[in-house]
């Protein structure tokens, strides 16, 4: 009984120290990763902000009039078609039907 109890205690201490050691290693790795992610996140946020500004509808319309000669055309919903594949056959259906069937 004495030996078993001591053995369990010893095993527990060993396991705890092993867990602590491995956790510390993981913790260090997490810290390094987090630090690199943090700077990447800031950079991503800045790029995203730049992208959102440059691709904002207002800017796109501005570029369109600045660089393209043709005007934008409005899509007529009745002309939108929907492609669907059934039994290896591609079907072309009116998209607007889908709205009506809903």
């Amino acid at each position: 009984m004495k030996k078993v109890a001591l053995l369990i205690i010893f095993v527990l201490i060993l396991v705890t120290s092993l867990v602590k050691n491995s956790t510390k290693e993981i913790e260090d790795k997490i810290f390094v990763l987090n630090e690199s992610i943090r700077s990447l996140k800031v950079e991503f946020g800045d790029k995203m902000l730049e992208y959102n500004f440059l691709s904002s509808p207002d800017k796109l319309i501005q570029y369109q009039s600045q660089y393209f000669e043709k005007d934008l055309i409005r899509i007529d919903i009745m002309k939108i078609k929907e492609l669907s594949e059934r039994n290896d056959i591609i079907e072309l259906n009116d998209f607007i039907k889908k709205i009506k069937d809903e």
Binding site: K2, T16, K20, I26, E27, I30, E102
Partner: protein, 559 residues
């Protein structure tokens, strides 16, 4: 005798002692091991748990270090994750002249870093003893250069800069912050605490592309109809999510100006107006709800004019027949017919219905800029005027909510700008009887498709638009002005309503040059014949639908 006695005592004592000692020894030994075992086990378990716990917590703590600071404010994004507001740290550099050791040397060095600065002015500032800012929002390159000078009089200060990449587009929704990072209007104010403490961006229900297209049309028609202002709301009828809310004129949030112009009021949620005939739908819906009328109930011998106190109630169109069904009253927008329905209902029933759909009381919304309907005393004349939408005020947002409830099958909704506020899983609460929506929606469609209807210009093919117009003279102190408030409420697709759209024009005027293209028949018409909603707001709504329709139909079809 004496010797014998003492011997017996010794034996007894010895026996008792031996027995007791052996028993006690065993117990102490076992308890000690159990106790040590227990203590060690507990320590090991606690230690292991703590190790695991710390491992998972440390990352959050690092984020929290930033969040607690005053210069932290989380970003705001639209429903597609596009930035509407973003916080960027910037550095301001200033000089404390008292601490300058060599002024001449410092000026030469500064001239090398900032060649475009006015140095005679800078010299004057250096000669005074007051701290001044040399450069605000300095670039990283120049910041590094200036700090390398090593002059202790140069002070740097990190500041929070709020950037709004969409400029004017969401000005009324997002609102402004002050220099102390405190929200002073819009979402920035009402969600100030959340924005300062949340690591995640605040996600709104609005769509940038749709907001842009709607605003573009409002800006275009502002110059055509020369209105004082305009507003539009696009809302999902089932869950109250606001896809777009525009109020024009607006302002560029990046300029951070003090707004004093009353025209910059948020007309969509704060503007309180008499909205006119759009209210007739509520009167009819209340009549249907109470079982007092049906769609085909006939009202015979309707007068052309009604006298109520000092004022006279008349029809806007003298061609309106004297005998009308309930459906025809709505299609032709008959005032006298609506008054008759209102009178049939009585004050209590109409009041209770309007209260139920949230038209009479201040609306519960995500921003504080909400208008309060002007209170009034109910009476016979008030009942008559309220029946056709006069003498009663509401905001366009309240109107959108009321129409959404009527169109969605009679379920209560709460308009929302915040994605997480949407109760998508909660069971809907029915507040209007089943079947009323279908009857009203059919009439709304006829208002757009029939020749007698007042909203033919909104009949854009493919979207099944239904709706009701409202033209009301603008109330001023002591009466009414000659200017109008023209409103159109559209519900679409009418076979299974998904969206409600309100377009309001504040004091529009007729245009002599604008060319209307008919939707129900071939041909076009030059110039605005009447300053009514049917010729102004409906045209704007139709043009908006042409632009946003394909996006709504394709982008949100699976939602």
């Amino acid at each position: 005798m004496n010797e014998k006695y003492s011997k017996i005592v010794l034996e007894e004592y010895e026996n008792r002692f031996l027995y007791k000692k052996s028993k006690t020894n065993l117990n102490i030994e076992f308890n000690r091991i159990a106790f040590i075992f227990f203590v060690f086990s507990m320590i090991s378990i606690i230690f292991s748990i703590q190790l695991l716990h710390l491992g998972s917590l440390k990352i959050e703590n690092k984020v929290r270090v930033l969040i607690g600071k005053n210069n932290y404010r989380s970003d705001i994004v639209d429903r597609n994750g596009n930035y509407l507001a973003k916080s960027v740290s910037s550095i301001d550099v200033g000089i404390n002249p008292v601490e300058v050791i060599d002024k001449k040397r410092l000026l030469v060095n500064l001239q090398l870093i900032f060649p475009n600065k006015n140095y005679s002015e800078l010299k004057k500032k250096l000669n005074k003893k007051k701290f001044f800012y040399l450069e605000k929002k300095i670039s990283i390159e120049n910041y590094e250069k200036i700090m390398l000078l090593g002059d202790k009089s140069i002070k740097s200060e990190e500041k929070l800069t709020r950037i709004y990449p969409q400029k004017n587009l969401f000005s009324h929704i997002i609102g402004q912050i002050d220099d102390d990072n405190k929200g002073i209007s819009g979402i920035e104010k009402s969600f100030n605490k959340e924005l300062k403490t949340s690591a995640e961006p605040l996600s709104l229900t609005v769509d940038t592309d749709i907001q842009f297209l709607i605003r573009k049309e409002l800006v275009k028609f502002q110059s055509i109809f020369r209105s004082k202002g305009s507003a539009a709301i696009l809302m999902n009828v089932d869950n109250g999510e606001i896809i777009s809310m525009v109020s024009y004129p607006d302002f560029d949030l990046n300029k951070r100006e003090t707004l004093e112009d009353l025209d910059l009021l948020n007309r969509a949620s704060k503007g309180v107006y008499e909205l006119g005939s759009v209210f007739k739908i509520f009167t009819v819906a209340a009549g249907l709800e109470e079982g007092l009328i049906e769609v085909d109930t006939e009202f015979l011998n309707l007068e052309k004019k009604l006298k109520c106190g000092k004022s006279t109630i008349g029809e806007y169109n003298k061609k309106i027949p004297s005998n009308l069904t309930v459906e025809q009253i709505l299609i032709r927008s008959g005032n006298i017919g609506s008054v008759r329905i209102g009178q049939k209902l009585g004050i209590d029933k109409l009041k209770s219905f309007l209260n139920k759909i949230g038209v009479l009381t201040i609306i519960d919304f995500d921003i504080e800029e909400v208008g309060e309907p002007i209170p009034f005393r109910w009476g016979k004349c008030k009942l008559a005027t309220v029946s056709f939408g006069h003498g009663i005020t509401a905001t366009p947002l309240q109107l959108a909510k009321g129409y959404a409830i009527i169109a969605n099958g009679g379920f209560d909704i709460r308009p929302s700008l915040i994605k997480k506020n949407l109760n998508l899983t909660q069971k809907k609460k029915r507040i209007i009887k089943e079947g009323i929506s279908k009857k009203i929606n059919t009439i709304l469609r006829k208002i757009v498709t029939t020749k007698e209807g007042t909203a033919g210009l909104a009949n854009i093919e493919g979207y099944e638009i239904g709706g009701k117009t409202g033209t009301a003279p603008k109330a001023i102190a002591g009466g009414y002005s000659n200017a109008n408030v023209n409103t159109f409420v559209a519900v679409f697709p009418i076979s299974k309503p998904k969206y409600v759209m309100v377009v309001l024009l504040d004091e529009p005027k007729t245009s002599g040059d604008y060319i209307y293209k008919y939707k129900n028949k071939k041909g076009s018409y030059k110039g605005t014949p009447y300053n009514t909603a049917g010729w102004t707001s409906v045209e704007v709504a139709g043009k908006i639908m042409e632009k946003i329709g394909p996006i709504l139909a394709t982008k949100y079809i699976e939602n």
